[in-house]
């Protein structure tokens, strides 16, 4: 998790999305990035040989500060099929068609393949970035996909 040094504009976010989609696809890095009001949180999955330098690079990125690593653990299998981003753009129109972009309320819910402890991390991070969700959403029923 981290804080943006200055608020990211739609163009910044778009550029970030495109850059990360390209680089991450190339290095087979999957995961998700949440952004809202300067709060940034990212989950990345991949080969440790790729992720270690990538994390170094991310933590040195001048666009954000207060970078905190919550958890770093080996996993048996990936929970995310690709790399995507969820945020509230000022103008939603230009983003709807972009691949790998979601509005926070449409972001894919935490995958069931994760352990509940890991899913709890993602849910808490999601809440820390986007704020508490509506009560109805806070209790996802069995219809969770």
């Amino acid at each position: 998790m981290s804080r943006a040094v200055r608020p990211l504009s739609d163009d910044d976010l778009k550029a970030l999305l495109e850059q990360c989609r390209r680089d991450n696809a190339q290095h087979e890095v999957t995961g998700v990035l949440f952004y809202s009001h300067g709060n940034i949180a990212q989950l990345i999955e991949g080969d440790p040989a790729i992720l270690e330098p990538l994390y170094e690079k991310i933590s040195r990125d001048g666009r954000h500060s207060n970078v905190v690593q919550l958890v770093n653990k080996p996993i048996a299998s990936r929970s995310f099929a690709e790399w995507s981003m969820a945020f509230h753009p000022l103008a939603e129109e230009g983003f709807k068609a972009l691949e790998g972009f979601f509005l926070p309320q449409h972001a894919p819910s935490t995958p069931d393949t994760m352990s509940i402890a890991d899913a709890l991390i993602v849910d808490l991070v999601r809440q820390a970035v986007f704020g508490p969700s509506e009560p109805t959403e806070a209790l996802p029923g069995p219809a969770r996909q």
Partner: protein, 620 residues
């Protein structure tokens, strides 16, 4: 040829040259540069006074003086506004001017030599330097004010460790006189325990050409050692080694003491948390656990590292995990307390019941969570055992009630038959025995008692069922009158007087059937145990106790009782005070059971042959 060459050189020289001849100062030779300077109108042979340009007007008098006195004249940085052109506004230009008298071979004055060199660039540079000097002085003054008023000591030290400058605050702080030798005294004012370290650190920093940052205790004017922070940075003169270090000494005593106290307090709290045989933890505002106490690792067999920010959830019984996680996310979102009872896995795989509680602390440092997991496994198991036993007892009790009810109901038919047969027998048979009358009456009475007992038994079970009935606000008078209507036969037979005083507390929130049962039993008891020598006088009074709780008094003037255990005797089932009087001994037991189960109690006072008073405290 040479003359021509000379002329050409003079004409194109970048400095202005002109000769002015005769006392009228007629134009002689004027080169290009001078022509530009004089405004271009310099017809040879014409007197200067007739074609005055700005420069000439200024200098005319001086020129005439030079001509007359024969003494040269020099003007430095003579300012001359250059006329504006199409491209540029008028700009002042500066010239060094020289007026030299020209002499012929006989030392007679021929005229003047006018010489002008453009020194604009030099002049501008000089002016800039002057402005810069002023600005520097201003900045210097500001810096001095700042350094000498800020609440810290500033200093400059050279490569050998000699202090080149120390701000006056040093003298205020240490109380040393202005004549004190800073270099000699400063080290002596450092606390002996810190002195060697400080000297070594500053020497090392200077030797390596780097800055420093360390804390030490410095003696204040009052003799007290105060913690100070010394920071300095080298002034670099590349590529040479730094020659000066500039730095500041700030008093950090209070902060340090506070930090020390905080550290101590935190260490103590941590020790406390680690000593408690409970699972204690804290979490960040986002809900990630950032501390588990010692007991947590002992119980779980996992380190804080292994548990991670949400690892506690994986310790719970797998089926409880999802709901517990959702609840935690919700609590973190809303700030509500988290509380639940869960089974948590111990290091040996055994699940034990725990109450998990967490509360959010919000203060200036932002919200944080404090949680504890209390092992309640033993209590939980005990409660489960008790619950099982309770359920069993309740079932047995229900079965017994059912049995009694069924039995009393089933016995009614044979009793009815018996009564019918007996009546038939009495009608058809003739008895010769003289005691037959007595016998017949005794059988009759026995049958009547049997019937009463069966009714009472059924009523007891019935009332047991009605205890669960909902309460309502009841008018005591109307319920009492209803009951009296049922007892009308007895009242009339005994010529009893029943007084109802309900106005003090006219209503009661109670189960209707229960209230009726209590009133019926108490009033019918009073009628039943009437004194044979006087008609019964029964007083029923509803009132409020000293604590404001409703109570009901039922007082008679009957036989009275001999009470062993005043004032609240236990009324047991089938216990009879007056064996002579018919009854099953169920009545008072029933009343007490109803009143007790509704949270009240029954009190009684009685005098033999005078009467009895029952006081029903509806609620405690």
């Amino acid at each position: 040829m040479r003359e021509q060459q000379l002329q050409s050189i003079l004409r194109h020289m970048p400095a202005g040259i002109a000769t002015l001849l005769g006392p009228e100062l007629r134009y002689g030779f004027v080169n290009e540069a001078m022509q530009a300077l004089l405004g271009g109108n310099t017809p040879e042979g014409e007197p200067l006074a007739t074609h005055l340009s700005t420069l000439e007007a200024d200098l005319l008098e001086v020129m005439q003086q030079v001509y007359q006195s024969g003494r040269p004249y020099v003007a430095k940085s003579y300012s001359l506004p250059l006329a504006a052109t199409d491209d540029s506004p008028p700009t002042p230009r500066y010239f060094d001017l020289a007026l030299e008298p020209l002499h012929d071979e006989n030392d007679q004055t021929l005229g003047l030599l006018l010489f002008a060199v453009d020194v604009t660039a030099q002049e501008e540079a000089r002016q800039r330097a002057h402005e810069l000097a002023l600005e520097t002085r201003r900045l210097d003054a500001r810096l001095r004010v700042l350094t000498e008023t800020a609440p810290l000591i500033t200093f400059t030290v050279d490569a050998t460790g000699q202090h080149e400058y120390v701000s006056p605050q040093w003298y205020y702080f240490t109380g040393q006189p202005p004549t004190a030798d800073v270099n000699a005294i400063w080290p002596l004012l450092i606390h002996p325990d810190d002195r060697l370290r400080v000297l070594y650190q500053s020497d090392t920093a200077r030797a390596n050409g780097v800055g420093w940052n360390y804390e030490y205790r410095l003696r204040r004017h009052d003799g007290q050692y105060r913690w100070v922070l010394s920071r300095a940075l080298p002034e670099l003169h590349a590529p040479d080694k730094p020659v000066f270090w500039h730095g500041a000494v700030t008093e950090v005593h209070d902060q340090r003491e506070l930090a020390e106290a905080l550290r101590r307090g935190e260490a103590e709290l941590r020790f406390l948390a680690d000593s408690i045989p409970q699972l204690i933890w804290t979490a960040t505002a986002e809900g990630f656990i950032d501390y588990y106490n010692q007991h947590t690792s002992e119980y779980t067999g996992l380190s804080a590292q292994e548990l991670g920010p949400t690892g506690w959830i994986s310790l719970l019984e797998p089926r409880e995990q999802a709901a517990a996680a959702r609840r935690w996310v919700q609590c973190v979102g809303t700030g509500e307390d988290y509380e639940g009872i869960y089974q948590m896995r111990r290091h040996d795989g055994q699940y034990r019941w725990h109450i998990i509680r967490a509360r959010q602390l919000t203060d200036t440092r932002g919200p944080r969570w404090f949680g504890a997991c209390t092992d309640v496994d033993d209590q939980h198991r005990l409660r489960e055992v008790l619950q099982t036993q309770y359920d069993e007892l309740a079932r047995t009790n229900r079965d017994l009630d059912t049995f009694v009810y069924t039995a009393s109901h089933d016995l009614k038919q044979p009793l009815f038959n018996l009564r019918g047969l007996f009546d038939e027998l009495r009608r058809v048979a003739t008895f010769s025995d003289p005691e037959q009358e007595v016998l017949i009456r005794m059988v009759d009475e026995a049958l009547g008692q049997f019937e009463g007992t069966l009714q009472d038994l059924a009523a007891t079970v019935q009332s047991q069922r009605e205890l669960a009935a909902p309460t309502e606000t009841l008018d005591l008078r109307s319920v009492a009158e209803e009951v009296l209507l049922g007892l009308r036969a007895q009242v009339e037979e005994l010529q009893a007087v029943v007084e109802l005083h309900m106005s003090e507390a006219p209503t009661l929130t109670y189960g209707r059937a229960n209230l009726r049962s209590v009133l019926h039993n108490l009033i019918s008891n009073a009628l039943k145990f009437a004194h044979p020598e006087r008609p019964p006088h029964i007083l029923v009074r509803s009132s409020l106790s000293e604590t404001g709780q409703p109570q009901l008094l039922v007082q008679d003037n009957g036989l009275g009782m001999n009470l062993q255990t005043e004032p609240t005797p236990a009324f047991h089932n089938f216990e009879r005070q007056h064996p002579r009087i018919p009854g099953a001994g169920v009545g008072l037991y029933l009343v007490q059971r109803i009143v007790d189960s509704r949270g009240g109690h029954l009190a009684v006072t009685s005098n033999v042959n005078e009467g009895t008073a029952f006081l029903v405290h509806w609620f405690e």
